[in-house]
Amino acid sequence: MTAAQTLVQGRAESRTRDVRARRSPLQQALRVIRRLPVWILVAMLLVIVLYPQLWVVLGSFKSQTEFLSNPTWALPQGWDFSNYVQAFTRGNVAVNYRNSLLVTIPSVALILFLGVAAGYALEIMVWRGRNATLLLILGGIMVPGQMILVPLFTTYFHFGITDTPWPMIITYTVMGIPLTTFLMAAYFRTVPREIFEAVTVDGCGPLRAFFLIGMPLMRNAILTVALVQFFSVWNDLLIALTFTTKPSLATIQVGLLSLNDEYGSTQYGPLFAAISINIVVLGIIFLFLNKKIMAGLAAGSLKG
């Protein structure tokens, strides 16, 4: 931008500032009216997005008679937690949560550890064939899960581990590796090589450099990728459904489905409670980490 342009723009800005300062009440009112359609639009948008969630959470406190006799938008008559009690005791929600944690935590930990190490080996280390290897792993992102389910099922059956959570953990890890490796390689690419070279000049080997410099430098990236993988494992249904060979292995998503089959059309409370638990728990996580989650999910899809 030339000096003249800056000058013109600067003058234009100061002019608008003057106008704003001297704006009469009438102009202000006009401004509000002009913005009114925008506010109505935004309000409608927020109602569409938020009301269904509010409705189901409020509904989770209603008794069966309230469901049947009161209009659907009526507020619950009191904070009655019996639907939650019932979901937890008879609907196995507690077991479902335990299973989901039992599967998600090891999967995400494995995915991260393997993916970060591989990303480092593929991006910081220099060797022939690394680009081809990265491309090979990248190809895995395109392949849908259905393509590997039958062979994996046969293999797990052969090894006799179908009655454990291991098939899910292993499958989630395999499914998560390509994207994580690719993202980590991309993040390592943004770090100036000089940092790693400087450490090795001081006599530190490349493996130690990975643990001492690579991992700490990637802290933010690792958290972002961890969130992406957490949500994709936690919210998955296909793999969980395939490898849930008995009810005691069911994760939350599988549990929700069977809860719906059991209660869905007769008793509304427990199902509403189970859905609400999902909304509230993930809502709290989202409240604290929304910037990271949004950035992570966006990066995961664009680079993938």
Binding site: Q146, P151, L152, F157, Q253
Partner: protein, 293 residues
């Protein structure tokens, strides 16, 4: 320096576990599944080589054709809606709300992190009829209409499935496209405004061409993920009424794991994979051609 970062031992320690798992549990199964699609049977009954008959069966199987149709229709409509709604929201964030868009952006994004199963069951309740009528039909009643049993018809079920897909992912696509719109230099927009471009014309001739790359990658991503639709149609109405809204993924799942036809199931999975591949290449090629012209 080259020697230090070319250290074999380090490369093997860091890469070998990932590579071994990836090759053994992803590449081998893909090839295995490819091979299985020429066989019939399952692990317990044994396998029999049947050549390409699984493929000829697929194209003459009305249930397969129907599920292929469901998947494609769903993917096309879901992608179109997600991208259009996401783009409109992104325009709203960038040009109308400007700096004040953070709260709306975050709130509209949130449903994306909810499990699809939970969202599907929520929408099931929203459109329910009968003794526990949901808000959607309650609103229809207020305006004098009769309650509609959405999930009793194929079109209704697809409509609800699409609505829930838009509801849960438009905020995600909005953020995706928003970051793309932010990359457009202000000077370009300003100078276009000075040249008299405004509103729709500004968007059509300046904003869309400049955000085309991110628009293309969003379309590819959206189509690839909606073609694999599974959770929403399964949880919403169990692929029903009947099997009329059962997509390829669900048909594959049932064929392989409920009817234990591993060979035919693998064939269906292969068709799905090829569909994703062909579409991605098609969009990619058409977009590069457009960029050349």
């Amino acid at each position: 320096m080259k020697r230090v970062f070319g250290d074999r031992k380090t490369i093997i320690i860091l890469l070998a576990p990932t590579l071994v798992i990836y090759v053994l549990l992803k590449l081998v199964p893909v090839l295995w599944s490819l091979g299985l699609s020429f066989f019939e049977g399952n692990t317990l009954r044994g396998f029999e080589f049947v050549g390409i008959s699984n493929f000829t069966k697929f194209f003459s199987d009305p249930a397969a054709m129907q599920s292929l149709w469901v998947s494609v229709i769903f993917a096309v409509l879901a992608t179109a809606g997600q991208i259009v709604l996401g783009y409109l929201l992104a325009l709203l964030y960038v040009f109308v709300l400007r700096k004040g868009s953070a709260f709306v952006r975050t709130a509209v994004f949130f449903p994306m992190v909810l499990p699809t199963v939970a969202v599907a069951l929520l929408f099931r309740s929203l459109v329910s009829v009968g003794s526990n009528q949901g808000p959607v039909n309650a609103v229809i009643n207020v305006f004098g209409g009769h309650s509609i049993e959405f999930l009793a018809s194929t079109v209704g079920t697809m409509g609800v499935a699409l609505a829930m897909t838009y509801w849960s992912s438009m905020g995600f696509y909005a953020v995706l496209l928003y970051t793309g719109l932010l990359d457009i230099p202000d000077e370009i927009i300003e100078s276009a405004r000075l040249d008299g471009a405004n509103g729709v014309r500004l968007v059509r001739h300046i904003v869309i061409p400049l955000s085309l790359p991110i628009l293309i990658s969003s379309i590819i991503f959206s189509f690839n993920s909606t073609l694999k639709v599974f959770d929403s149609l399964l949880a919403l109405n169990n692929g029903g009424p009947g099997t009329s809204t059962s997509p390829l993924t669900l048909y594959m799942y049932r064929t392989a794991f409920e009817y234990s036809q591993y060979g035919y199931g693998s064939t269906i999975a292969l068709v799905l994979t090829l569909l994703c591949l062909v579409f991605t290449l098609a969009v990619f090629r058409s977009s590069t051609r457009k960029a050349d012209a």
